[in-house]
Amino acid sequence: MRGTLIFSGSSCPALTGKVCENLGMTPADAELTQFSNGETSVRILTSVREKDVFVVQSGSPKINDTIMELLIMISACKGGSASKITAVLPYFPYSRQSKKKSHRGAITARMLANLLGVAGVKHIITVDLHASQMQGFFKCPVDNLHAEPLIARWIRQNVPDWKEAVVVSKNAGGTKRVTSLADALKLNFGMVTTDKKRGNGNMTSSMVLNHIDAILDPIGEQLTDAVDAASETPAGNVTQPVAGAVAARRPNGSSLHSAKSLPSRLRSSTSALDGVDEEGDQEYNDQRAHEVTQARLVHGHIVPDDFESADVSAATSVAGDDPMTMSHASSFFAPHHAALGGSGDAAESSDEDEEILKDPKVEHMVTLVGDVKNRTVFIVDDMIDKPGSWIAAAETVVKRGLAKKVYCIATHAVFGADCLEQLQGCDCIDHILVTNSYPIPEEKARNASKLHVLDLSYLLAEAIRRNHYGESISPLFQHIVE
């Protein structure tokens, strides 16, 4: 393209090379080094006067050096009288810090947006921002491209029974991303949520139900014993239809059996208590979406229902004065730690809570909503950084939901620490699908047989071309129909 220069940051020479190849150009000449004291040195070795300049930079393990390099490159091009400078950031750094997560925490993503502006950027091209609200942080236009059409096409071409698959979100915050892919492929979707407290005690119906349980307990317990003795259900299968599922929201996993065997008298009273909306839902909704499966997560792994945990096993009795019931009530009235952002925020990522997944003292309750039995499951999020929540979700859908195959799908393959090795080692994960928005070290990729990397260079090249010629970007958001 005439009058265009594409510079590559030191983080992603390979991706930039491909982008340039697609456009029939070569990357522009720049020397990127460091002075001996650690300051970044940039030398632009070709004239940029009155040129349309694109600077491509992704993330790297030395993320702050990468950012400074980008800013200095932009500043150097601006000082060299470039007519327009566009930053092409396939992975936008600090995008997870896009809100105040704690009192007096920084909104670093906004600051970075301002820094890019002050360095001299006139346009941003990026891919799958962690929160699309971030576009509002910029004063200049932002093209937030989507990798979803590429992912959907790969699924159509490479997954044999994709029409029977289920798309699953591994945390409540990412559900929107998941429904979008599910809509594109016309698939069912499900959700896995991890709760720090045991059980999902924060719903009114289950609270009321606990009290009824207490009243009717003698009968229920006798029946449980009888049923359990007669037919020992396999511990793995606790999938239940909706009426039982509401009853299953009880302080502990083992009481699921008693819920299943509740007398029909109680079952009818349950639906009566749940009110109209519950029953109304059932009429016009896919029954499968109501399937609720629960599992216990200890040390970051799914454990059988009869797994002994020292501190909580005492609470398995369902007495009327059950302390767990009380604590549920209090947790219901005192909303939990969402005071700053709200847990329903689209930008919420379970990655931040990863550390606690590993804490042996904290036991988690994993809830799977939706039926995945004998189906292929696509677990989808925007980035893979830490492995914990992916492994937990995969184990839940395989061990509890009895899923056939699991694909972990994300745009940005950040792969912090030994994440890729852990995912590769997890028996419940069959494939990992990512893009090359974030550079993956070659030796790492070579050892990961499950890894599939989609190439974003066509998307980025097309976005650059269209930007240069002033054409519309919107066709790039559309799904490829074959």
């Binding site: 004291n37 950012i67 007096r104 925490g105 600051m111």
Partner: protein
């Protein structure tokens, strides 16, 4: 400082130079504010202020550790941004060693003026005031549209020379033409002689030929500069001075950056001592090089913070070093 004042000094320290922050805090009789600063697994920096800074006068001390300049700079920017969003009344960035100060001009085609970029970045993050020590070029103050207090280590140097040497035995030497002004100023205050070394510098951190202008015979030659990086210049200058009959050669610098093979250069050189301030964290370099001596700059910084907070004049510090 009276307890009734609604608005007090909050001293926040970055991770690059906690020792200096502690010394400044001790001097001011306050505690360094509680903060949480960490790197995520993908090396992104996260900074949280652990106590309220609402309507307070915030001073953030962050030097730039050698080799970790960008890390320190980003942490500083994030800390400023965190205080800004937390409704601090005024945020002063105390940057004893201003990063990228040497990239302050477009000396080649399309060379970035990174010092101006850093200035703009600090203001964008939300800094209202800058305190720094011995800027490489005073013009950098003009890159900012907020006030910049450029403190001088010179009063501390003068006191050090007077306390340790006889002024009349000394001659002050500038290792390059650009530093002549700095050296003559010290020579004037001490009423001693002055000399200059002219050098040709083909590339940064590479030293060319050197010529001495002036007389250093039988004198203690004191090389004065604003920073000692790889020490190639200083060591070569020292041997030139020795060849020209100097009794002993000392180097007096503000910022002991000491990157690359600076320690080996120093240990192998004829330099008797390198005297620097503690604007830059020195780490284990003091153990690895017995020639390094340190002047504590924290009283000057602490006094500048106190005066800035109370709205007093800072100019007193340009000529006097607090004891």
């Amino acid at each position: 400082m009276s307890g009734e004042m609604a608005n007090e000094i909050k001293l926040i320290s970055g991770r690059s130079h906690p020792e200096l922050s502690e010394k400044v805090a001790k001097r001011l009789g306050i505690e360094v504010a509680r903060t949480i600063s960490l790197n995520y697994s993908n090396q992104e920096t996260s900074f949280t202020v652990g106590e309220s800074v609402r309507d307070e006068d915030v001073f953030i001390i962050q030097s730039t550790a050698t080799g970790d300049v960008n890390e320190g700079l980003m942490e500083l920017l994030i800390a400023i941004s965190a205080c800004r969003t937390a409704s601090a009344r005024r945020i002063t960035a105390v940057i004893p060693n201003f990063p990228y100060a040497r990239q302050d001009k477009k000396d080649k085609s399309r060379a970035p003026i990174s010092a101006r970029l850093v200035a703009n970045m600090l203001q964008t993050a939300g800094a209202n005031h800058i305190v720094t020590v011995d800027l490489h070029a005073s013009q950098i103050q003009g890159f900012f549209s907020v006030p910049v207090d450029n403190l001088y280590a010179e009063p501390s140097f003068l006191r050090y020379i007077r306390e340790n040497y006889k002024a009349e035995d000394c001659v002050i030497v500038s290792p390059d033409a650009g530093g002549a002004k700095r050296a003559t100023s010290i020579a004037d205050h001490l009423n001693t002689g002055f000399a200059l070394i002219h050098k040709e510098r083909p590339r940064p951190n590479v030293v060319g030929r050197m010529v001495l202008v002036g007389n250093v015979e039988d004198k203690i030659a004191i090389l004065v500069d604003d920073m000692a990086d790889t020490c190639g210049t200083l060591c070569k200058a020292a041997s030139v001075l020795k060849e020209n009959g100097a009794k002993a050669v000392l180097a007096l610098v503000t910022h002991g950056i000491l990157s690359g093979n600076a320690i080996e250069n120093l240990n192998n050189s004829v330099l008797e001592a390198l005297i620097c301030t503690n604007t830059v964290p020195l780490g284990d370099k003091l153990e690895r090089c017995p020639k390094i001596r340190v002047i504590d700059i924290s009283p000057t910084i602490a006094e500048a913070i106190r005066r800035t907070h109370n709205g007093e004049s800072v100019s007193y510090l340009f000529n006097h070093a607090p004891v």
